[in-house]
């Protein structure tokens, strides 16, 4: 399949953004840990640019260096507030609602791109990689919105560098946590952790009761998702281990309904775990909250309520349709 825009191009773009920020940190004389923090961002940027061109073990050791720098407390946020509230209010009065245009350009162009790019072809060459349309639409939307923002604000080129650096540093090391968690899921899979977990559940629970089977499956999805931080990783393990043998085979439940609601039980777990970092920790850091678990705590009542509703729905639906 031939195409013009693929993920490769976006990875280079992100790599360059992160490398510029790394340089900004390295040259910031007021930064409390400029060299080690700069090194962290330098490595992160490099993984985007050479990621698939060097042996995987090279990236593996680079990741270990990033983890070590973080664990030793060497990655610090040296970003500072670069404008005052008064300046921003004055700007807001000047630009008025025009300031929203670039912010709205991101979702709007992502949607347009998702609907449109798949249909653009030049002979046998696709405009974008057809397997990655949404992500590429988002990337292109971000580029368009960037120029829109520069045009509307008439900002100097130093502004996006400073402000991007301020925001990325406020997210800090948490930015690599999602990627690292996916890695953990992969290694658990390779090691056969799932089979062991399923074995324990099926040995110790009276799954001959059809409600217990549903509860064990939903609870297993929730719990394993909370441990792994990822409902997708839990799904294969728990569905093969509990769902199919007990709900489908033993009690003749509907596998489609079981899967749909089982995944949602997993999502209720995602709401309640710090392991789902990009959903729960990153926003707390984006808001600069003192408690990095504030979002998780807020979501626990919602997560539990959805879990209860979802389990009951599965019990009433899965054996009847």
């Amino acid at each position: 399949m031939h195409f013009i825009f693929g993920m490769e191009f976006l990875y280079y773009l992100i790599g360059i953004i992160v490398l510029i920020i790394a340089a900004e940190v390295l040259f910031d004389k007021d930064h409390p840990k400029r060299f080690t923090s700069g090194l962290f961002w330098l490595i992160f940027g490099v993984t985007f640019i050479i990621g698939d061109k060097v042996p995987a073990s090279v990236i593996g050791y680079l990741v270990l260096v990033m983890v070590a720098l973080t664990a030793l407390g060497q990655v610090k946020n040296g970003g500072k507030e670069s404008s005052t509230k008064e300046q921003r209010v004055k700007m807001a009065d000047k630009l008025n609602n025009k300031i929203f245009i670039p912010a709205l350009m991101i979702p709007v162009f992502t949607v347009i791109g998702t609907l449109l790019y798949g249909h653009i072809k030049f002979g046998s060459v696709n405009f974008v990689d057809p397997t990655q349309i949404t992500l590429i639409s988002l990337g292109i939307a971000a580029i368009l919105a960037f120029f829109g923002a520069m045009w509307i604000t008439k900002a100097k080129w130093s502004v996006p560098v400073q402000e991007g650096s301020r925001l990325l540093q406020s997210v800090g090391w948490a930015v690599i946590l999602p990627q690292l968690l996916a890695t953990l899921g992969g290694i658990f899979n390779a090691a056969g952790v799932g089979k062991v977990v399923s074995g324990i559940v099926s040995n110790y629970l009276p799954t001959s009761n059809s409600f217990v089977a549903v509860f064990a499956y939903c609870f297993g999805m929730m719990l394993f998702t909370m441990i792994m931080g990822n409902a997708f990783a839990a799904f294969a393990v728990i569905t093969a281990g509990i769902g199919i043998p007990f709900i489908v085979h033993m009690h003749a439940g509907n596998p489609g309904i079981m899967a749909a609601l089982g995944m949602f039980a997993g999502y209720s777990g995602t709401l309640m775990t710090p392991m789902a970092a990009n959903f729960n920790i990153v926003p707390a850091m984006l808001f600069g909250l003192e408690d990095q678990n504030a979002v998780v705590k807020k979501q626990i009542p919602t997560g539990l309520a959805i879990f209860v509703a979802d389990t009951l729905l599965m019990y009433f639906l899965v054996y009847h349709f």
Binding site: A92, A145, E163, L181, F188, A191, P255, L286, A309
Partner: protein, 232 residues
Amino acid sequence: MIKLIGILVVIIGFLFRFNTLLVVTVAGIVTGLVAGIPFNKIIADFGQFFVTNRYMSLAIVSTLPIIGILERYGLKEQSEKMIKRVKNATAGRVMLTYLGIRELSAALGLNIGGHAQTVRPLVAPMAEGAATRKLNKPLPKKLRTDIQTFAACVENTGWFFGEDIFIATGAILLMKGFFESQGMHVGVWQMAFWGLPTSVCAFLISWFRLRRLDKRISLLAQQPSETSNEEA
């Protein structure tokens, strides 16, 4: 059984509040070692998975410079100003509206949100603006944090429980692929359709919690001002 040691590492790591990156890395390495995978292979796996999952950082890194510029030029201040002019806007209603839009668009397969892209620059400031208007004074710190965390919460709830009612979404394709690998044929339409009741429940539960938030803000607004002066 010994293979579960990685899960134990994760739990202990969180209990003792070690750095999360360190906990995850150690859990992976230990699990790999007890399963008999050579150390160098484990590290290569780390590199491999890290690279294939780079797309996870796309949304956040690519939008930060834009949001940064807009924040410097008063995006939050303007959001607050605008929402103050909308009659009947409350923090809860702003967030519930976003939740509805997020669930519906996710169900259509459109990813229009995100914490970095919409919650921090638009949803949270608008909700804060609505609350500020109601209180007619700067928000107490705790209420501000509550509104911000609720904004993050509706983003997650809307995305998770909307996404799976669209048949071409990743989760549905994953489930279908999984069943195929087990030699079972399960239709995508029923997986998408039966997700609807839970999605509706997620919306109603959020509606209930946001309504309570609005009531709390109303009560706070009725309090005589001397009790809240210290928080401003």
